[in-house]
């Protein structure tokens, strides 16, 4: 059998695919962060907690209201997005005039509070969430068994990522948004309600995190701490991609998923660290990130 770096081609292909699947979570989450940072200049540390809330809302919908996965995909981002909008209106809004650092500290504190509350209520070992029946089972691709659900994750997150990119970079709405962050006074002069636009953007970014949470619920356990570890990795992804770069975060999300996946084969002990090593190297040679521009 042919081999790549000492492992059979078939196993190698499998690992590549798995890397892409994990990359889709990184991409979805870092996309939300990039949108919020790129347009609002907020370093949103509550992103992990909002991702976790997404999973919990899905669990709640299923177990308390009997609404399944497909409903959760629609309802959850809206619910958690509204929660985000409230936070923006009541708290973040006060900080726009101050240094980025204050927003970071506020969102970090909020994340700790939210996680603590959920942990007190639900414990740390998590709650079961069943996979939607339509997506159970899988396909034998020859080189690996691909669960249908994972295939869905890749496709769906690609669609969401690319549409987000399209809306922000290629439509009129997107250009308003970008203009509003560059020069809010001027845009306001055109009769556009800038504060509302900013609130909606934050809500949208948070909704993306919640959407990722719903998608994660059937494969990882619905766990109060599920976002806490992930958020650090996702921040690294955003930094590598270039803070605020929409396309950068999508491409690096998928790319780093693949690199991490391959590390799990060649040197599994380092699979938690490899992304940070890359981050350090990127920061040394391209401080603005791979796709970022110096501001």
């Amino acid at each position: 059998m042919t081999e790549i770096f000492g492992i059979p081609v078939q196993a190698f292909m499998g690992q590549l695919l798995i890397g892409l699947i994990n990359g889709s979570f990184y991409a979805l989450l870092s996309l939300g962060l990039a949108v919020i940072f790129g347009l609002l200049n907020i370093i949103n540390f509550t992103h992990g907690a909002q991702y976790m809330m997404g999973a919990f809302v899905a669990w709640y919908l299923l177990n308390k209201l009997g609404l399944g996965y497909w409903w959760a995909l629609v309802i959850t981002p809206v619910t958690v997005g509204i929660f985000g909008a409230i936070i923006e209106r009541t708290m973040l809004k006060q900080l726009y005039k101050l240094d980025h650092l204050y927003g970071l500290l506020l969102t970090f504190g909020l994340a700790l509070i939210i996680q603590g509350l959920f942990r007190n209520e639900y414990g740390s070992s998590g709650l079961p969430y069943s996979m939607p029946e339509q997506l159970t089972g899988g396909q034998n691709l020859g080189f690996m068994f691909l669960p249908n659900y994972r295939a869905w994750v890749i496709v769906f997150s690609l669609v969401v990522c690319l549409s987000t990119w399209f809306v922000i970079e290629k439509t009129k709405l997107g250009s308003y948004l970008r203009a509003a962050t560059e020069n809010p006074e001027l845009v306001r002069a055109f009769g556009i309600n800038v504060p509302r636009m900013i609130t909606l953007t934050y809500g949208f970014g948070v909704g993306l995190a919640a959407l990722a949470g719903v998608m994660a619920a059937p494969i990882y356990s619905v766990n109060p701490l599920m976002g806490a570890d992930l958020i650090i990795v996702v921040f690294a992804v955003v930094v590598i991609g270039g803070m605020g770069s929409i396309m950068g975060s999508i491409v690096t999300g998928f790319g780093l998923g693949v690199i991490e996946g391959l590390t799990k084969v060649f040197y599994p002990e380092a699979s938690n660290t490899v992304i940070f090593i890359i981050m350090a190297v990127v920061l040394l040679f391209r401080p603005a990130g791979l796709f970022g521009t110096q501001r």
Binding site: P8, G123, S125, S130, G138, M144, F145, Y149, L225, M226
Partner: protein
């Protein structure tokens, strides 16, 4: 002069009472556990509840013994754990540390406790090294260990035909010890270990590791991990059709809280070894009924039950020895036979190993379960003298 006289009188009066040599007049118990991360439901705040119940049931207040409980979160980091232990022993007057899940942290606290001549009652940690090469006159390993798990679960599986293994191992002291102990059992029973992959503690996604396990073609994939790591491995193994493909999973350390988080539909048929199950007899049920309302309505795990049992026996030994000096109390604990409602009668060996029965359970099918927390059926009982590693084989220098 007058003050000296006062002290002398006070001392003379105290001789007759149990507190004769209780440091600070208080027996201070420190529950050191993972309070917030992946093992928090196994020990964590529930262990504090269990310790408090033991103090109540011992009747400390009635006996005039002052007992205080403090707790802290070691975050699964050895350096955090040992610095808390030092502070507790040096400045806070803590006499005994209990629980301490996460073997790497327990090994560190084991060292500190020995240096300070205090007492350490391990319930949450698993590594059998605590009664092997790292054994100490100040440490008792209470609830379970990796040797017991390997022989209980591993042994049962090899004997029913699971003779080729691939390990998914948590990359720290506990995972390594469990893999080593299980591999020995597999080999001793004529089986073969085809490979292993070490994953970092607290990993979310196991698909990559599972794929490696799959391509090894081993009949059994041994999960030498715990808590959230085990839950995610089992969940994702089902997703990747591992069991349907003819391979079987062996959860080498599965707690009832993990089964609860997985749900019976994913956990059914798992074989596991525990030393305590809340629904074993009237006494364990009575304990669980008191315990659950204080712990988010979660039934006690064996680790939490072990904390109860260990603290109860510790207090009995303090009473008997009339001191809370760590080394003396631990010696007394080994001398006295153990007896409590949860683990029944038992004893503690010279190497610090507490002996009691272990049970091989099978997780029920959803249709067999009568309701919440009705999860296990008993497959067999492993008597205390066979459940744990023979004292001579551990290499503990205390054993002559």
């Amino acid at each position: 002069m007058l003050r000296k006289l006062g002290i002398a009188v006070a001392a003379a009066m105290a001789v007759g009472t149990a507190q004769a040599q209780i440091s600070g007049g208080v027996v201070k118990i420190g529950v050191l556990s993972d309070m917030s991360s992946l093992y928090a439901d196994i020990g964590g705040p529930g262990s504090v509840v269990a310790a408090r119940m033991a103090v109540e049931d011992f009747g400390a207040a009635k006996k005039g013994m002052k007992v205080e409980i403090v707790s802290a979160d070691h975050q699964n980091k050895p350096e955090v754990g040992s610095s808390i232990a030092r502070q507790w022993y040096d400045t806070d007057g803590v006499d005994v540390i209990v629980d301490v899940p996460t073997s790497s942290v327990a090994l560190a606290v084991n060292q500190v406790t020995r240096e300070k001549a205090k007492a350490f009652l391990v319930s949450g940690a698993a590594t059998s090294d605590l009664t092997g090469k790292a054994c100490s006159p100040n440490t008792i390993h209470w609830t379970y260990d990796t040797w017991m798990l390997a022989h209980g679960t591993g042994g049962a599986i090899v004997k029913t035909g699971g003779d080729t293994w691939f390990f998914l191992t948590a990359d720290y002291a506990f995972g390594h010890a469990l893999e080593r102990d299980t591999a020995e059992v597999v080999k001793a029973n004529g089986g073969k270990v085809l490979g292993a992959v070490r994953h970092p503690l607290n990993t979310q996604d196991f698909s990559s590791f599972l794929l490696q396990a799959q391509s090894s073609k081993a009949k059994i994939i041994g999960l030498a991990n715990a808590g959230g790591d085990t839950i995610n491995s089992i969940k994702q193994a089902a997703e990747f059709g591992i069991v349907r493909g003819g391979q079987n999973l062996a959860g080498l350390l599965v707690f009832i809280s993990d089964v609860n988080a997985l749900g019976l539909d994913k956990a059914e048929g798992l074989i596991l070894t525990e030393t305590f199950y809340w629904d074993q007899n009237d006494q364990t049920r009575a304990f669980a009924k008191r315990f659950a309302p204080q712990n988010k309505n979660h039934m006690p795990t064996m680790v939490q039950a072990g904390v109860y049992s260990a603290v109860l026996h510790y207090l009995k030994a303090v009473e008997a020895a009339k001191t809370d000096d760590g080394t003396k109390v631990v010696a007394k604990m080994k001398e006295l036979p153990t007896d409590d409602p949860l683990f029944g009668k038992g004893r503690i060996r010279q190497d610090g190993r507490k002996l009691h029965n272990a049970y091989l359970f099978e997780v029920k099918k959803p249709s067999e379960s009568k309701g919440a927390w009705d999860y296990y059926k008993l497959r067999s009982t492993i008597p205390a003298d066979q459940a744990f590693r023979p004292e001579k084989e551990g290499g503990c220098p205390l054993v002559k």
